[in-house]
């Protein structure tokens, strides 16, 4: 007998997807893979391999030139613009260049997804303050991005991506500008989210990070995904184990 988890649709399905910019060469070639609910992947590959382009397809910022993408069980090319917008609200994105709005302070940048979703201001205040404290920026809530260091901006970008507890979290080099301790802390934030049911894809060059956290990889090379994780695996247990290990480490300290 199938459980609810067995019959739930895949979060993402790529079927023979290719991408080219204008009339240039194909950046991504005939890519097929599946991301299951509550899974955790690293996306690896050399610079220019197409990681950012693949992420852009995942958060519906680009359309494939060939092939079909299914998101949350629905074909993206069949969706109306309003449905796409609705689906985007279920995705959290950490951009490589952060994309913070310079006219908004740290609090308002993080609050943006909640405001777009029409959340109550009282709830927004509570959740955003908690999360900013968690990422160590409680004193910088009223600071504007231009007044903050690169690492602080990156943490705001991450907080904005996770504040609405997305179903799918896509992070492009989320630990690229922070020290190792903060990188680990942020990874545990992702693990915490994963434990709560969020599917996570972290694009990274950080070999140490990939080695420390034994998650499967989507390895991009010359426009092809050369390593596809086996389907049917839930990574929640793995995330839970890692979190438990981290909690013990914290207790020892």
């Amino acid at each position: 007998m199938n459980t609810k988890e067995d019959i739930s649709p895949n979060i993402v399905e790529f079927n023979g997807v290719s991408l080219r910019y204008n009339k240039g060469p194909e950046i991504l070639k005939d890519i097929s893979f599946v991301l299951e609910p509550r899974s955790f992947y690293f996306m690896t590959g050399e610079s220019g391999a197409g990681k950012t382009s693949l992420l852009s397809l995942l958060y519906l910022h680009l359309e494939p030139t060939r092939g079909r993408i299914r998101l949350f069980g629905q074909a993206v090319d069949m969706m109306s613009r309003a449905t796409k917008a609705q689906f985007r609200r279920q995705i959290g994105v950490v951009f490589q260049d952060y994309r913070l709005l310079n006219h908004l302070n740290a609090f308002d940048n993080v609050a943006l997804p909640l405001r777009l979703a029409g959340e109550k201001e009282a709830d927004i205040k509570k959740h955003v303050s908690e999360l900013l404290s968690w990422v160590g920026l409680e004193k910088q809530m009223k600071s504007y991005p231009e007044e903050l260091a690169g690492g602080e901006q990156q943490r705001i970008a991450i907080a904005r991506a996770v504040i609405h507890k997305p179903t799918l979290l896509l992070a492009d080099e989320p630990t690229g500008n922070v020290d190792d301790a903060m990188a680990k802390r942020l990874m545990y934030l992702f693990l915490e989210l994963n434990k709560l049911g969020t599917t996570i894809v972290v694009a990274t060059h950080n070999v140490g990070l990939v080695k420390n956290f034994h998650f499967p990889q989507l390895h991009l090379s010359e426009g092809h995904v050369t390593q596809v994780p086996a389907s049917g695996t839930s990574y929640t247990d793995m995330a839970a184990k890692l979190l438990k290990r981290e909690e013990k480490n914290v207790e020892k300290i």
Binding site: Y59, L60, H61, L62, E63, R81, A82, K84, A85, Q86, F87, R88, R89, I91, V93, R99, L101, N102, H103, L104, N105, F107, D108, A111, L112, P113, R115, L116, A117, E121, K125
Partner: protein, 296 residues
């Protein structure tokens, strides 16, 4: 913390140009429409004048410049008799010196002594507008009964004036339409410029799941409020100028121009700032919606 509604807009969003453009357009439209309404009111008055009155002139001096003396009163009697028996004429009345003086004020001022001027005697003839007399027949009869009398055909020049004023009104309508088209085009380009400056904001909120209609409505209301504030400035500046022009026209044209506006016309003028702001809302809405199509 910023207000919930203003996260889409940074300092560049409030385009300096937009409120002042709206102020200028409302200023011009209000003055032009007020002028048009004034001409419209005068036109109605003139049309009434054309339909309801005639004037007969009886010369008081002969061709050599000698006074015609008692002959004038005989001619007046004959003319009145003829006029009062003509079908379509409701009444005929000789203008006295005071009435003549009043008529001459716009040309000669209040100090003129008209008794010393070689002015003709005037007979004001009231006409049944629904059944006016045959003008050509009346002219011939008058020539026979009172040789030298002139049936003043202001009906003819007033008719020309009515045609001219009607043409001016059409021109005013055309200019107002042009002004509104200018508002729409300017708002479209201003909005495009705003959107292009803020593309990074739009791109981000689009990726965070903001719907097209949400973004479009925010921009439309933002520009509506900006346009309305500018429009009221233009309207407020136009009011004293309108009063000034009205006073001036009254002083130079007397009763010729009906420059006072009715309550309904004032109501229509008050709608001008709202019309410009409404047009701004609609144009912004269409422009933003079209612009957002560039995002997947």
């Amino acid at each position: 913390m910023s207000k919930k509604s203003d996260f889409l807009f940074n300092k560049e969003s409030t385009h300096f140009f937009l409120p002042w453009m709206c102020a200028l357009m409302v200023f011009m439209t209000t003055l032009i429409l007020a002028g048009g309404m004034s001409i419209h009111n005068s036109l109605k008055l003139w049309q009434k004048g054309v339909a309801e009155s005639l004037t007969v002139q009886i010369a008081t001096y002969d061709d050599d410049g000698n006074s015609r003396g008692e002959l004038v009163y005989r001619d007046i009697e004959n003319a009145l008799t003829l006029l009062r028996t003509t079908p379509g004429v409701l009444g005929a009345m000789v203008l006295n010196d005071d009435q003549m003086q009043e008529l001459m004020v716009p040309w000669l001022g209040t100090d003129a002594v008209i008794s010393q001027l070689p002015l003709p005697k005037l007979i004001d003839v009231s006409v049944d507008a629904s059944r006016p007399p045959m003008l050509e027949q009346l002219k011939a009869d008058l020539e026979q009964a009172v040789p030298g009398a002139i049936l003043d055909s202001h009906r003819i020049w007033l008719a020309d004036l009515v045609h001219f004023a009607s043409a001016i009104l059409s021109l005013i309508g055309f200019i107002v339409i042009l002004l509104f088209i200018t508002v729409a085009i300017t708002v479209m380009y201003t909005t495009k410029s705003m959107l292009s400056i803020q593309e990074h904001i739009l791109d981000l909120v689009h990726m965070l799941g903001a719907k097209d209609l949400y973004i479009t409505n925010r921009y439309a209301w933002h520009n509506f409020k900006t346009a309305l504030s500018g429009s009221f400035i233009g309207f407020v500046i136009a009011i004293p100028i309108m009063f000034g022009v009205t006073m001036f026209l009254k002083s130079v044209s007397g009763e010729l121009l009906q420059s006072s506006l009715s309550a309904t016309q004032w109501g229509l003028l008050i709608l001008v700032p709202f019309a410009v702001a409404g047009l701004t809302f609609f144009t912004t809405y269409k422009t933003v919606l079209t612009y957002l199509r560039k995002f997947v």
